[in-house]
Symmetry: C2
Subunit: 890 residues, 2 copies
């Protein structure tokens, strides 16, 4: 019989930290902490297998679960000394989700479960606080009705507001309500449920429990959880675990508290405790950002200029216990921990620990520091930094001495700088971003419903909530700059503006934010490129030591080539020569070439393009020096170069002397039903060899020129696009060899080059052995290979790709992360066959996937020689490539 | 050392008939005939490897060739008792091409080689005929200058005409010229060559020989040879052999002759000698169709009403020898032979034998007759008929009693009937055919330059030439009806008309020809479908006995389904349901469905389509009875159904009440960059499940209705198009199962169906094991699989595919004959993997390739269960499938 339920408590546990996949992160760590002897409320975990089983079988429970749960409940009752439904000593539990990966705030939770009209009296007696008991009860009813019974949260708020109104309380003043108030409200709540649903609110704690467990599992499939998974590449098939745990109460008066802490600063990585707590509150109050919490340490309190006492000062004994827990956990896990704790009448309880989310900057610093501290080794450090997160560090930051006036300062919730137009709703953010506009999303506070808007925005500002508020956590995860809790802002959604320090900022006004400092500026501030030194440089140097694959870049403009080299690119993996054709000054000659009626006309136009193309290569070779440069000859269908707008057509007609009508008909003649599969790539080279020959000549002459100027012979690789057969490569090899011989004759020494092919068609991959006879290198063009292998046009797929990911046809967008089980097979076949036929063949990847960490792991598995990606992704690719080596060794 | 040269003569030979690939058909058969003791002039063959080696190495001769050739020449001199350049007893040779496959008239030949000013005198003495010697010499100079030296043929004709003029001869009267005339002309020819080329005509016979051999090899790459190869699927890589053979002369007076014979009638297949000969002529005179030759037998002479004596009558002794040769060769080769012979002063020489080209009708009759005669067995008979040639028999013939007036009668050169507009040039034929018009090409005679025009025409008429003239041979090969030698026609190219029996027929007038009877009619005659019985039925029944793969058809209209069943289709392999949507009466509802704003609107429109679609299936199931029907659900992108012309848009706007502007913008919204790779196939089914559900309902309800009417449960296979992943099949399987359950509920019994997928994407082929979990059958859609695997849009490839085939990138059009080495691999992988995962999976092919014999052989090799093709190709596919079994057993 499958084990579905794993208990923990009383210093032992069925599970351990290594069982994350089965128990979820929270469940695994609760078990681990129990085994470590930490003060953890007892409980049990329903495994992720229960979830997948439940969802796969029309929401029916697997065999044996009910028995196992009943037994686990018995053990829990023993360990806690309390019983479900016992009016004298009632057991109350929390029911929380906990998946393999953290999805903060995305899924549902039920607290205080076990309360009913009898047990609430027991709780009142035991706690000696009738007000607390009924407040807990009404919170439970409200939460359970929302999460499990699907009732509208607002209905309960209305009852509460009406009660306050009738009794003459202010709307905000929950704390003024007495036990009797809460008791009355509780009864109104229960009546409301019966009214709305036609049946009573469930009374039996066991019924309550099953309802809550089902609801938490169901919440795995709610919309915001799906969106979060899409954004964070979490497979739907993982499912979530559910943790049922004895309640402890941080809201039992002034000796009770609840808090969240990081063992180091998750924003900067500094080795300083970092966190927030609230006296007399339940944990959700801190995370939800409704009350602004107090600092953990005296030092932090002073730094942010808080007036409330720190926990260090207010609860010195418990704080000392807590710091012991911090040390023990960080040493045990060898990583910075994110800890939730509750103090119930001076007794510390640890409710959760997990590796803390952190900014890229913090991840770098913590990893490098921990190596210095001897906690982890260099390899561990390399694995600690999520490659994609480096993106945050590779984009511009605010320049010192920029002149934008500061508007106000909030909490530095997520680092990085951003400029954009102010918007006040996630919908607006999405719409304007889709038009290509940069926006800053300004909200009083954010909720899980804002995920889309936060993703669309360049930066986020909130008026309420702390460093661990929803906005702050999510923004850091996304790498979006965020200023949180900017309390001075008075936001008026209806007017579409906010006031601050007597100044009004309207929707569409431009502001700049600095998430590292918490500053908000009006206007557009100058940005600078960050220095890629310090912790970044150290970690990258460690990564370079273990990395096997070379990392090149896809670039063709001197500026991009330069940037990529600064980021450590070891060569150019894809220089798209057609991009050089679009420049204002040359497009006329290019169009003349295309519109030429015969070969002579084409050659005349090509002769005009030659010197420009040669100069391009001279510039590139000068930057690249000895580093290899893969130059792809002309690839796109010719009609892409033709004028389309009326204005352009007129201009071209004037420039070339070709009648407008002829231009139009020629463009029509070149139009194709499926240009992706049409007359492009090496097919152009075969039809019009003079085009490729001009390009080869430009390359060879540039190489010769740079050789004469600098003594360095550029390491040139000429790449043929869209080859499907060996014969195409053979034909074009000859054509290019002819030019090489001519150039040798003119310049007195022979060009040096390798000749190879871009593998972007399934046939080419399958016939790689044959093609390799004519190619000393292959570069996988995984974009087009994905399009052809899947029969999926990238341009047209947007209309249904979302649906496809939702319904689990694809786990991720196959244009972002390689479809390893499909397209990956083609790479595998091509790699094996070409190496067998030509053992010294050089193999690389130059599609977008070359910058995607998951795909890079796959490429490492294939043993490719290099990957190539856009300049800004070079460090990401380098780190991911190093991690791939380490993970394969594990 | 490679053996390059193979001798034959004196009753022995280095080669044999089995060495066709190496020696070419002609060389192999010359060797074989020598070994059989037949009277063959001695000679030797340069192998096809010499050709490929020569062409691959910039036209340089392979090592060892020169020595081997020198030795072979020595042997030839010994065997013939003559010597190269020997003024007393000169050896003269012919140099002819001879490839693996016959390419009549496509390549170059040099005769009488070895003549110079000295040896011509020797020939004169030996032959006792000075006129003959100098006529031979001038023919040689003219031919050699044309073929080897690249001079214009007309320059020589001018000299000849001028001489005739000066001497007062009529232009036609070559026979009136005396020895002196020819001697003078010879000298003028030699002077002309020196004048034009700046060097003397080569004098040394060995030099002449090398020149001629090179020229013949070069002619393998001439344009007309390439076109012929393309049309006949002959790979360029085969190369040609060259045969050097001692000359014999059919033009040594009245006891000499030359002829061409078939051992049976190549047009009807009757077991009667058939052929033509000319007294006092060289062989080329017969084939070239310049003189109209005489019949071989008395019976044939009478049948065609010839006035000249037959060979049987004119040369009874030699004719008797010849018939002995016929019997010996046919018995030896067990096939009808096409024989070239020459009689030199009453001595019979056999110059060539090969399996005779024949019409499909003749092939059938000969194969069936030879089984009856005990010459071959049924399997051999099956292999004797070229499947594609059956096409000739499967198309309409002239109906008895049609009323068109006969214009005249020529020779029945190639059977079949055709109607079309008269054109007088191949260019016109190509142009008008490309506009979709049927044309009949009318020429005085045809030459290899007319290949394109003959292919474009529906039928061919010539005024000159016999049954073995160029026009007749080529037309039979192509399966085009042809009336040859219609001597009454007086064609005036300049006026664009011909006169016959006082009647003038102009260009663009419609005529009808009956190639089986040699009749030409004016106007359009009624045609009938031929009976598929007799020899055809016998052969097909033999083929059915050995055939392993089932043959289905691609059809969806009741008429097509019926035709296919008449042709013996064993099921429907592809019923394209979208074709049913285009009918005038339903397109409005289809458009409404597509233009619906929401699901409700879509469902309302689908409800209107349902009964029509159901009726379609009822009709098909009634015809097909127990035979399986694979029904493919909607496949093309929706915008294909939208109106495009202004008139259509207006109509739809009126019918649906949707504004024109909205219609236009909706159509624009549905337009795609690459519709082939867009929102189509099962992607539509996933996005709009209600469409596929309507189709499933129509199928199930039709099945139920037919079951109730006839008691027969249609064998339904529902096929999902364009699947790339297992998940797509899983999702749609559920949707269809829902409908099956609903229909079960309504009709009281469950629909029976298999569920499967069309494999047309590389990913699907690679992941066939996974997909097979949800599919009990796969049908390879090789059209789209070719498009995606090669990244080649069928619609757009026409602009460069010709180039690609010319340059040897593809051997054949990959949309006509499967790219076995590329796309074929995907089929192989999918077949292996899906069978491993699901041993009982049914596998078939429903692309165009299902009717292509070469592809069918490949499918047999894979062990597929069935192939499916268009109705008219069903018999072809059945025969090819039987041949594939037999060839694999060999």
């Amino acid at each position: 019989m499958t084990k579905w339920v794993y208990g923990f408590g009383g210093g032992t546990a069925d599970g351990s930290a290594s069982m994350k996949n089965l128990l979820g992160g929270k469940g695994a760590n609760l078990a681990e902490m129990c085994s470590l002897g930490l003060p953890v409320p007892s409980g049990f975990t329903l495994s992720t297998e229960v979830c997948t089983n439940y969802l796969d079988n029309q929401k029916s429970w697997p065999d044996g679960l009910q028995n196992q749960l009943a037994k686990a409940l018995q053990v829990l009752e023993q360990q806690s000394g309390k019983s479900f439904g016992d009016a004298a000593n009632p057991l109350l539990v929390s029911v929380r989700s906990g998946g393999r990966a953290s999805m903060p705030g995305m899924m549902d939770t039920v607290l205080n479960l076990g309360l009913n009209l009898e047990t609430v009296e027991g709780l009142a007696k035991l706690s000696g606080d009738r007000r607390f008991a009924f407040d807990s009860y009404r919170r439970f009813i409200q939460m359970y009705s929302d999460v499990v019974l699907g009732m509208d949260h607002d209905l309960f708020e209305e009852i509460l507001d009406e009660h306050k109104d009738v009794q003459g309380f202010a709307t905000e003043a929950d704390t003024e309500l007495a036990a009797d108030d809460w008791e009355q409200i509780t009864k109104l709540y229960l009546a409301l449920v019966e009214d709305e649903l036609g049946h009573e609110f469930p009374d039996d704690p066991v019924d309550q429990l099953w309802g809550a467990i089902g609801a938490v599992f169901d919440s795995w499939m709610n919309d915001r959880a799906k969106v979060y998974r899409d954004l964070h590449d979490i497979p739907q098939s993982w499912g979530t675990a559910v943790n049922v745990q004895a309640m402890v109460f941080g809201n039992m008066g002034e000796t009770s508290a609840t808090g969240v802490a990081f063992t180091r600063n998750p924003s900067t990585g500094e080795n300083l405790y970092y966190g927030e707590f609230l006296i007399n509150a339940q944990g959700e109050d801190v995370v939800a950002g409704i009350r602004t919490p107090q600092a953990l340490t005296e030092r932090a309190k002073e730094e942010i200029g808080d007036t409330e006492p720190s926990m260090e000062a207010a609860m010195p004994k418990v704080f000392a216990e807590l710091t012991e827990v911090f040390k023990q956990l960080e040493t045990h896990y060898m990583d910075m921990q994110d800890i939730e704790f509750t103090v119930e009448r001076d007794q510390l309880w640890v409710l959760q620990t997990r590796s803390g989310k952190r900014t890229a900057k913090a991840a770098l610093k913590i990893a490098v520091d921990m190596v210095a501290e001897g906690l982890i080794n260099e390899s561990e450090a390399i694995l600690r930094v999520e490659p994609s997160s480096l993106d945050q560090l590779l984009h511009p930051m605010l320049a010192d001495g920029h002149n934008c006036p500061i508007i106000c300062t909030g909490l530095p919730a997520s680092p990085g700088a951003a400029t954009g137009k102010v918007v006040f709703s996630s919908e607006e953010a999405v719409i304007m971003a889709s038009r290509g506009e940069d926006v800053i999303l300004v909200r009083i506070e954010t909720s899980p419903d804002d995920i889309h808007g936060m993703h669309a925005a360049k930066g986020i500002v909130t008026a309420r909530g702390g460093m661990t508020s929803h906005a702050a956590v999510v923004a850091r995860g996304m790498g979006r700059p965020c200023v949180a809790g900017a309390g001075e802002l008075r936001i008026d959604y209806s007017k579409g503006s906010f006031m601050v320090a007597g100044q009004t900022v309207h929707k569409n006004d431009v502001i700049t934010i600095d998430g590292a400092k918490g500053h908000i500026f009006s206007g557009t501030a100058t940005m600078v490129q960050p220095e890629l030194t310090g912790d970044f440089g150290v970690l990258m140097s460690w990564a370079d030591k273990v990395r096997r694959m070379k990392v090149r870049t896809n670039a063709e403009t001197p500026a991009d080539v330069k940037t990529a080299c600064d980021f450590g690119a070891e060569g150019i993996g894809l220089c798209r020569t057609e991009h050089m054709f679009f420049e204002e000054s040359r497009i006329a000659a290019v169009r003349e070439m295309i519109l030429a009626k015969d070969k002579a006309g084409r050659i005349a136009a090509l002769d005009r393009i030659l010197p420009m193309q040669r100069d391009d290569f001279v510039e590139i070779f000068q930057i690249m020096r000895e580093r290899p440069c893969t130059i792809r000859l002309l690839d796109p269908p010719l009609h892409e170069f033709l004028p389309h707008s009326e204005r352009d057509v007129t201009q071209v007609s004037q420039a070339t002397g070709i009648a407008i009508s002829e231009l139009m008909s020629r463009a029509e003649g070149l139009a194709e039903a499926n240009p992706m599969l049409g007359h492009r790539g090496c097919r152009l080279g075969i039809s019009y060899p003079e085009i490729y020959q001009m390009q080869a000549r430009a390359i060879f002459e540039a190489q010769g020129k740079v050789k004469q100027q600098t003594g360095i012979m550029a390491d040139v690789e000429i790449m043929i696009p869209l080859a499907a057969t060996a014969r195409e490569l053979e034909i074009l090899q000859d054509k290019i060899r002819q030019i090489s011989e001519q150039v040798t004759g003119h310049q007195g020494f022979a060009p040096e080059y390798q000749y190879g092919a871009m593998i972007e068609l399934p046939r080419a991959a399958l016939c790689a052995a044959e093609l390799s006879e004519f190619a000393s290198f292959f570069s996988f063009g995984t974009n087009d290979l994905t399009q052809t292998a899947l029969g999926l046009s990238r341009d047209d797929a947007t209309s249904f790709l979302g649906d496809y990911i939702c319904q689990g046809v694809f786990e991720k967008d196959p244009f972002v992360s390689l479809d390893q089980s499909g397209v990956g097979q083609l790479l595998e076949i091509a790699t094996k066959r070409s190496r067998l036929a030509r053992p010294d063949i050089k193999l690389g990847v130059c599609g977008e996937h070359g910058g995607d960490p998951a795909s890079i792991h796959f490429f490492e598995g294939l043993g490719l020689d290099y990957i190539s990606c856009s300049p800004f992704r070079v460090p990401i690719a380098k780190l991911a490539a190093a991690q791939a080596v380490l993970l394969r060794e594990k």
